[in-house]
């Protein structure tokens, strides 16, 4: 066998008392796609960061093409042919798309940016992802999450790397974009590029990867050919036990209507959305990127202005409330971008979990810290968050665990009507099932759930009804039994031969 492109042996890395990697062995052959899987907090991102020159290993060996490799910083890793797509987006929001794609790689002429060349290169990279029509001058700040993700991926492609490390590149992509990414990956593979692929979507991993390595608690516990392993075996290797299947319970008696939208419009999106939600019901919203699912939920929660139409919460019509007002009415919301607007990264886990409802943990406006800790610990257990304790700062948690905190806050708030935007983004399989079960329990208690997701199995798995959004309008709203993946895709894209437009 030829020399490995990348080899790690006995790699160890700690953060203070947290031991993120306790001895990882890993091998990446030239031209292979290697899936790296594991639960939240298993150490996947840490490993990627070590190879990418962002973190240094405390101990262990890393070799690139048989030679010792200890990158001092991201730049030297990049020079050695390593490109990284980070789990948390690393874009400069004020710069344009093309500037972001070629950031740090600008084609130059006498110290000046060669603008034409830059535009050509950026367009080329985006074309590989089916985004040749993207407005290259637009500041990245104005893009939706999925499009930002595409920019981040395009940046890695521009590099013409020898090894490409992808940390959950598809966590906010739709099926279509994911397919385009896979096509790009297989082209790279043919060109001899090695790829490390991190994802919590095991089906994706099975589709795209040649081999896999499973991390558990900072150790590599299993590795092998992807074609020779079953779904169940992977899950067991990750969790160390059988986490059990999630099965949809049958038929809850639908209650009365608690949440109703009457032709609501936002500033640009949504255009006109009407729907109604009953107690005990889980309603999914599917759609392509830019269909306006996020905007719909934001308008409902009062984060964006309501420009037309009206809303009814528990029998009361209104024309928009503040988020505070909604929370008072028992409406809760989980944002799709946890970092920008979901979490207080500097604050503790306990503060984040209890912020919307501090009253039970306080008396006369004074906070009872032990009560706060108790409340937090409950959700840490229930959602199996891997954290050092309720007082750890959220910044120090792994991406998936941060997402769990965002969901935990909603549970602590005890909301009756839950608006969830991509709630399981970046959450591992086992925990995802646990969250599905929780959502179901909530529904059984008579709460109503509105769930926007790009992950179709999730929608088909847990919803009672699914509605599809297209260009700001709600185009179909049917019981789950009437849907399957291809029908959903067809409805989202617009029935006939219409394809995705961006």
């Amino acid at each position: 066998m030829a020399v490995s492109r990348l080899r790690l042996a006995g790699v160890v890395r700690s953060f203070g008392a947290t031991r993120a990697l306790r001895g990882v062995d890993f091998e990446l052959a030239p031209g292979e796609v290697h899936a790296l899987i594991g639960e939240n907090g298993a150490g996947k991102s840490t490993l990627i960061k070590i190879v990418g020159g962002i973190l240094r290993a405390d101990a262990g060996v890393v070799e690139l093409d048989g030679k010792p490799y200890r990158p001092a910083n991201p730049l030297s890793a990049r020079r050695r042919g390593i490109a990284v797509i980070h789990q948390e987006l690393s874009l400069a929001p004020d710069l344009s798309v093309e500037e972001n794609v070629l950031l740090g790689r600008e084609p130059r002429r006498f110290g000046f940016v060669a603008t034409g060349q830059r535009r050509r290169q950026a367009r080329q990279a985006l074309a590989q992802l089916g985004r040749e029509a993207m407005d290259l001058r637009r500041p990245v700040r104005e893009l939706g999450l999925a499009e930002q993700q595409m920019v981040e991926i395009a940046r890695a492609l521009v590099d013409r790397p020898r090894a490409l490390l992808m940390d959950e590149p598809t966590s906010s992509l739709t099926r279509l974009d994911t397919q385009r990414l896979f096509e790009a990956i297989s082209r790279l593979k043919q060109a001899g590029v090695s790829v490390i692929y991190v994802s919590h979507f095991l089906e994706e991993c099975r589709q795209v990867a040649d081999r896999y390595t499973v991390l558990r608690d900072g150790r590599s516990v299993a590795t092998g050919e992807m074609s020779r392993v079953t779904f169940g075996e992977l899950v067991r290797a990750m969790a160390g036990e059988d986490s059990g299947e999630f099965r949809r319970r049958t038929e809850r008696p639908p209650g009365d209507v608690v949440f109703e939208l009457d032709r609501i419009c936002g500033k640009t999106l949504p255009r006109e959305v009407s729907l109604s939600l009953r107690r005990g019901e889980i309603l999914g919203i599917a759609g392509l990127v830019g269909a306006g699912r996020t905007e719909t939920l934001r308008v409902c929660f009062g984060l964006d202005a309501l420009r037309g139409g009206r809303l009814r919460v528990k029998g009361r019509w209104d024309r928009g409330r503040s988020p505070r007002g909604r929370l008072r009415q028992g409406v809760g919301y989980v944002s799709e971008s946890r970092k920008e607007e979901g979490l207080l990264l500097e604050r503790s886990v306990a503060d984040n979990l209890t912020l919307t409802r501090l009253e039970p943990c306080s008396r006369w406006g004074f906070i009872d810290r032990s009560a706060q800790n108790r409340a937090a610990s409950r959700w840490i257990d229930e959602l199996s968050v891997s954290a050092a304790g309720p007082r750890q700062s959220v910044r120090e948690l792994s991406g998936g665990n941060q997402q769990k905190i965002a969901i935990g806050r909603l549970l602590h708030h005890d909301a009756d009507i839950l608006l969830l935007d991509e709630p399981t983004r970046g959450i591992d399989v086992g925990s995802r099932f646990r969250i599905y079960r929780l959502i179901h329990e909530l529904a059984e208690q008579g709460r109503a759930v509105l769930l926007a997701s790009s992950y179709l199995p999730e929608l088909l798995g847990i919803c009672d009804r699914i509605a599809v959004m297209r260009r700001g309008e709600l185009v179909a709203d049917r019981p789950v039994a009437c849907w399957n993946e291809s029908r959903l895709l067809a409805a989202a894209a617009g029935e006939g031969n219409e394809t995705h437009e961006s």
Partner: protein, 323 residues
């Protein structure tokens, strides 16, 4: 685990304390100075010089933790000092003078906060504007002159009485200590305090969590203005006159105290204890270098360098213990 927990709650003040110790050590080297500097009477002097900055720093901490900044602090101190003096000249009873002066400070803060919250403007610009407006108002109110009321009980607030011994301390020092203790509890133990941290840490998230961000911001700036008003009262008492040109540049000193005290100008972190120690560091530095009889320029150079060093050492220490 226990130890770590204790460390964590103590941590915010550790850096500034370290800085204070370093500055004190600086003045303990010279044996001649040591005898003069580490005396009860000097401690009293330093404390008295600290309070105006320290009380201002209480309000500024609130603002900075919430992710804002208030450049109008110095001007508001001058303005409220003139307000107090003018009211005293008009023979308003002292208790009412105190109330009205604090109200004037809070009103300015309220205006700042309202413009920031409702106009969605950045605090730097709004308070920079207010800096000019308040200074102008002070001059207008004082008719471009200092305002000198007759002897009255407010003059006693900062009166050192027995200058050669530590006790009795002027009432202003006790007042400042009490206010600091109260604010420390408010910041760390109340819901309002948590909300201030939340807004500073991530304003979007705070809004999403149902915190009435606008109303809180207004409250924050108004409360800060109230503290600056209190500073103004103490400044009046120190000079026994309302001087519209006093406290020029004081805002930077107050901000420096807060930042030396461990707050981040990005918001979301900071502590009252730290800020008070920061104010003490500044006062000790000024007083000590004045007594060393260095020329003024040496004082400025040393104070500047020590500000950087104090924060820098803290960074280094933090880095060592490996965050």
């Amino acid at each position: 685990m226990k130890a770590e927990r204790r460390w964590r709650s103590w941590r915010p003040a550790a850096g500034p304390l370290f800085g204070l110790a370093a500055v004190l050590a600086l003045f303990a080297v010279d044996p001649e100075l040591r005898a003069i500097f580490f005396s009860g009477s000097n401690a009293k002097l330093v404390l008295t010089q600290t309070v105006i900055v320290a009380v201002g720093a209480l309000g500024m901490t609130l603002v900075i933790v919430s992710g804002g900044i208030d450049l109008s602090a110095g001007s508001v101190v001058a303005l409220t000092g003139v307000v107090a003096a003018s009211l005293l000249v008009a023979a308003v009873p002292p208790v009412l003078v105190v109330i009205l002066t604090l109200a004037a400070g809070a009103l300015i803060g309220f205006v700042n906060g309202s413009i920031i919250a409702w106009g969605r403007m950045i605090p730097f610009i709004v308070t920079l504007g207010m800096m000019g407006v308040a200074r102008g108002l002070a001059k207008w109110l004082g008719n471009n002159q200092t305002v000198n009321p007759a002897d009255n009980s407010l003059n006693l607030l900062m009166e050192p009485r027995q200058p050669l011994q530590f006790f009795p301390l002027p009432p202003g020092v006790w007042l400042a200590a009490g206010l600091a203790a109260a604010m420390a509890v408010v910041m760390s133990r109340t819901i309002f305090g948590r909300q201030v941290f939340a807004i500073g840490s991530n304003e979007e998230a705070a809004r999403l969590c149902g915190i009435p961000v606008r109303r809180r911001k207004i409250a924050i700036y108004a409360l800060a203005g109230l503290f600056f008003g209190m500073s103004g009262l103490l400044q009046y008492s120190r000079l026994t006159q309302g001087d519209p040109t006093v406290a020029f540049g004081l805002e930077l000193e107050i901000i420096a105290a807060v930042v030396i005290g461990g707050a981040s100008l990005n918001g979301g972190s900071g502590s009252i204890v730290g800020s008070v120690i920061g104010a003490l560091i500044m006062a000790v530095l000024k007083s000590g270098s004045g007594q060393l009889n260095w020329p003024t320029y040496m004082q400025e150079i040393v104070i500047g360098a020590v500000i950087v060093l104090a924060v820098g050492l803290d960074r280094l220490r933090e880095w060592r213990t490996g965050r």
